[in-house]
């Protein structure tokens, strides 16, 4: 783990370091850890050039709020003139002619994009094994997955290949890999950060997410990215608060809700104990803890997979070989061209979800599946509304287990889907949630603690997360697993 950005920024301002030397050393780290397969594309020349430009800006004044931040970006964010693969063969040679809103903001604020990270194809997966470019390995244990789908971004931060990283979270794709690699992972409220240029998997659930080594960096990055974007009609008009404020408060006055349903069957005892240890600390320090209930938690997975596959089946229809990306062209037959292109271009999990989604939207099945799932989604949202009448922040595990072995679940889609059990409901309700490192299990694998908040109250998550981080530093001497 390298120094967090907020400390590096001080070094830059004090003249103790430069962006160029820092980028050079990050590039060396990336080469040294090539076996992790965290990156699909490393932007060596571009990053170096940018670093020199920002060094000049820093000397002259007027550098942006992220000046010198070395950031890795999940390969499903469009970036001008750079290959954007989405972890798929179908986009193997696709270069976007425009920048996503997130990349645009990063560069406006003088962050340095060091590369595009590996991922489950189109964000579909929980282990980063579903990539046309090979699986990502967990830096904590290379025999295990870093989680997914933003596994490359999580691994990059955990292994010190970038200071921070951008991911996307549809049903847990930022929080779960953050938990499994021992870093901070934030999924903001739906609509808080523009989705423009985030290549869609499930549009009503996709959000831009943030990986960082600590909560302070997370707040800095969120500050830079949040806000209305006229190019995304679902982005919120609500003003963006000052997130740094949240990092100075204590937990006194915050009420934490403990969802009864999050501590049942399927939860690894070691993960449960780690969460309870933090809960005890909060109670001892004057935070209020209340047991609450989210009765519909069990329906989360089914509801999530009906809705996300339905949207995916439509979102992925544009990959037909006509205008961009892969085209397999059997002589003069349009239908076969589309079929063969998709057959060759998509991996099996993507095909499975397109088929499921096509099915749930089909005439005769729409009411029983898609429509019913939308109704349950409304009820789940209500579940959360009820819970947030009694508390400010929900606290629970991010993932039922610590990192699993490569290949362990890849042949069993249901087992894989169930690893999202604690992360899929917040997206269905559009709520923000963050995963914070909460210790190690007996194998030395990171455990993640998840905090879920009310819509557009990321401050509460940052505040509680920051407090937990500080307590653990005092307790263990380090906020991160060794």
């Amino acid at each position: 783990m390298t120094v967090p950005y907020h400390r590096f920024r001080k070094q830059l301002e004090d003249g103790e370091s430069t962006c160029e030397t820092t980028v050079v050393s990050f590039l060396a780290q990336i080469r040294a850890h090539e076996s992790l397969n965290a990156f699909v594309t490393v932007l060596e020349d571009r990053a170096l050039e940018k670093a020199r430009e920002i060094d000049r800006k820093l000397a002259q004044g007027g550098a942006g709020s992220l000046a010198g931040m070395v950031v890795a970006v999940k390969d499903l964010f469009a970036m001008k003139h750079v290959r954007t693969t989405c972890g798929s063969r179908i986009l193997e040679r696709y270069h976007s002619p425009y920048d996503s809103a997130v990349v645009g903001r990063l560069e406006e604020e003088d962050a340095i994009v060091i590369g595009k990270t590996n991922m489950d194809e189109f964000g579909m997966g929980s282990s980063s094994e579903n990539s046309a470019y090979g699986p990502v390995l967990n830096p904590r244990d290379p025999g295990r997955t870093p989680g997914g789908s933003s596994g490359g971004s999580a691994a990059a931060v955990a292994a010190g290949l970038a200071m921070t990283a951008i991911g996307s979270d549809t049903g847990g794709s930022v929080r779960q890999p953050a938990a499994l690699t021992g870093v901070v992972g934030l999924r903001p409220t739906y609509g808080r950060i523009s989705r423009y240029g985030l290549i869609a998997f499930a549009s009503s659930l996709d959000t831009v997410g943030i990986f960082s080594s600590d909560v302070t960096d997370c707040a800095i990055l969120l500050q830079a990215l949040a806000g209305r974007d006229p190019r995304d009609a679902t982005s919120s008009l609500l003003p963006v608060p000052d997130y740094a404020e949240a990092l100075r408060s204590s937990v006194r006055g915050l009420t934490f809700g403990l969802p009864r349903e999050y501590y049942g069957e399927g939860l690894s005892p070691e993960v449960g104990e780690a969460i309870h240890a933090v809960v005890s600390l909060i109670r001892e320090s004057g935070g209020e803890i209340r047991e609450i209930s989210l009765p519909l938690t069990d329906y989360g997975i089914a509801t999530y997979y009906l809705i996300c596959t339905a949207e995916a089946s439509s979102n992925l229809a544009r990959y037909d070989g006509v205008k961009f990306g892969l085209r397999i062209d059997p002589e003069g037959d349009l239908r076969r061209m589309i079929e063969e292109t998709r057959h060759e271009g998509f991996g099996s999990e993507v095909k499975r979800r397109i088929m499921l989604g096509t099915y749930v939207l089909s005439a005769g099945y729409y009411d029983a599946y898609y429509l019913k799932a939308q109704r349950v989604r409304t009820l789940i949202r209500r579940d959360f509304e009820n819970a947030f009448r009694e508390c400010d922040v929900l606290i629970g595990p991010t993932s039922p287990t610590t990192a699993f072995r490569l290949g362990e679940k890849s042949e069993d889609p249901m087992a894989m889907y169930l690893s999202d059990i604690y992360t899929v409901t917040a997206p269905l309700a559009g709520l923000p949630a963050i995963s914070i490192p909460a210790g190690l299990d007996s194998r030395g694998l990171p455990i993640g603690l998840q905090l879920t908040g009310r819509a557009f109250q990321e401050e509460n998550l940052l505040r509680a997360g920051y407090w937990i981080e500080q307590v653990r530093i005092r307790q263990t001497g380090c906020c991160q697993p060794a």
């Binding site: 469009a78 425009y98 869609a200 009609a233 339905a310 949207e311 544009r318």
Partner: protein
């Protein structure tokens, strides 16, 4: 057994907005192929639609003008199907919650009255691109796609099955075209495809209420084509039913050149569009205030204006229909009518000279160089006897060419009529002196030579003699010679 046709029309009108419905690209017809495109209307990965407010306004204008209820909240939905000219693999349309519902337009009922044709709904959607197969530059076994039209805003106007003859369908279509043009929301040009029409048609025994099996007619590119295709299909279905057969529900394509409708291949029509609400677009909200604002901006509508003209000016229905067809001509006439004491004279001038000129030049009345005030002055000069009717037409033409005032034109052409009694008397004396044989005949009782003598007067005066006074003078002189 006589059958009664039951016809419903689905009319697509391209809205005359400057830019497309979900991006900022232009909508000009006939532009260089694929020149009016951007990442959004190309459906490139990561792009998002943002609704054009003007398109909503235009749709609401039309909805209000045809007595629809405007829904405060309507929903955009995705219509999913694969076609090379549909870049996203789905068309954004409205399905379960359209913008406008339950309206009507009046068409002539053939007995001087009005028949209401109900409108089921009007919804907003985007147009698809164009596939080009038959042009000279397209190779064999090849199709090219022009994406310019993708994202052009459309309204689809769906009627109830209220029409019972091809003539009624023609009248309804004519009425819709008048309305869209009148409101300025569509240029109404069917040949260029900015107005398109599909028809549903079935037959039932005359006098019954049920509905027979319907067929759908597509690809009618002219108003007459719609009428002919419907007549063709009525005859075809009649033959089937009269011979005891059953009509098969299917889609037929009208072939204008062959003058017949042929069934579409069944593969092309067996679609399950898997509609679902588009998660990229929040519900469209047209609140009462916005609706009122749009309503207040509506011009006087043709039916209201016709009623006003009928009662204020007592014009014949035929004149009203002709003068009211086009908003520009109607506005011109409406400005002219109060300036001319005899409304019928004003109507005649517009229907005669003005429309003839516009037709000959294929000109738009908005570019017309003779303002209503000037035309009123020409009519007044004729009424006052200062110029003859035929001179009036010359004056009018002179004004069209040079843009000068009526008086200046009269001066320039030297057409001022001689009404001075003394001047006319000497003219008449001269003609009598120079044509003694004819004068003798008149005195002998052959009064038919009077016309010849008057012709001489006009000739000698170069057409400027006031005919009424000249006639009176000639009669008096000749009678005095008896």
């Amino acid at each position: 057994m006589p059958f009664e046709p039951v016809i419903g029309l689905e009319v697509h009108a391209q809205l005359a907005t400057v830019s497309k419905i979900f991006c900022g690209c232009g909508t000009r017809f006939g532009a260089e192929p694929n020149s009016q495109v951007c990442p959004v209307c190309l459906g490139l990965p990561g792009t998002l639609p943002v609704l054009n407010k003007k398109a909503v306004e235009f749709a609401v204008r039309m909805g209000l003008a045809v007595h629809c209820r405007i829904k405060e909240k309507s929903i955009f939905a995705r219509k999913n199907y694969f076609y090379p000219d549909l870049p996203k693999g789905y068309q954004i349309s409205q399905y379960e919650e359209p913008l406008c519902e339950d309206g009507w337009v009046g068409i002539p009922d053939g007995n001087g009255g009005v028949r209401k044709i109900r409108i089921h709904r009007i919804h907003l959607e985007e147009d698809a691109g164009k596939s080009v197969h038959d042009e000279v530059y397209v190779g064999e076994n090849e199709s090219l796609v022009d994406v310019n039209r993708c994202g052009t805003p459309l309204i689809e106007i769906v009627s109830e099955p209220d029409m019972h003859s091809p003539q009624e369908a023609y009248e309804y279509l004519t009425k819709l075209r008048q309305m869209v043009r009148w409101l300025g929301v569509c240029d109404g040009n069917m040949e260029e495809g900015s107005l398109r029409c599909d028809a549903n048609i079935s037959l039932r025994p005359a006098g019954t209420e049920g509905l027979g099996v319907k067929t759908e007619l597509k690809n009618m590119n002219t108003f007459r084509g719609v009428e002919k295709a419907l007549a063709f299909e009525i005859a075809r279905q009649t033959r089937i039913l009269e011979s005891g057969g059953k009509v098969v529900q299917q889609t037929l394509l009208w072939d204008e050149a062959a003058d017949e409708a042929r069934p579409m291949r069944s593969k092309e029509e067996a679609h399950d569009y898997r509609y679902f609400p588009d998660p990229d677009l929040p519900p469209l909200v047209v609140d009462a205030a916005w609706q009122a604002e749009i309503a207040a901006s509506l011009p006087e509508l043709p039916d209201a204006r016709a009623g006003r003209w009928r009662s204020a000016y007592d014009l014949p229905d035929y004149d009203i229909r002709v003068l009211n067809e086009d908003r520009g001509v109607s506005d011109y006439t409406d400005a002219l009518l109060p300036l001319v004491p005899d409304p019928k004279k004003a109507a005649n001038w517009v229907m005669g000279e003005v429309l003839r000129f516009l037709n000959e030049r294929k000109a738009d009345i908005r570019d017309f160089s003779v303002p209503p005030e000037a035309l009123a002055e020409v009519i007044r000069l004729i009424d006052a006897g200062e110029i003859s009717t035929s001179s009036g037409k010359k004056v009018f033409e002179e004004m069209l060419g040079s843009g000068i005032s009526p008086r200046a034109a009269v001066e320039k052409l030297g057409l001022s009529q001689v009404s001075d009694a003394g001047a006319l008397e000497s003219l008449v004396d001269r003609v009598i002196a120079e044509n003694s044989p004819e004068v003798q005949k008149y005195l002998d009782g052959k009064h038919q030579v009077f016309g010849f003598l008057m012709g001489r007067v006009m000739q000698v005066s170069k057409g400027k003699a006031n005919p009424a006074i000249a006639t009176e003078t000639m009669k008096r002189k000749l009678e005095g010679m008896k």
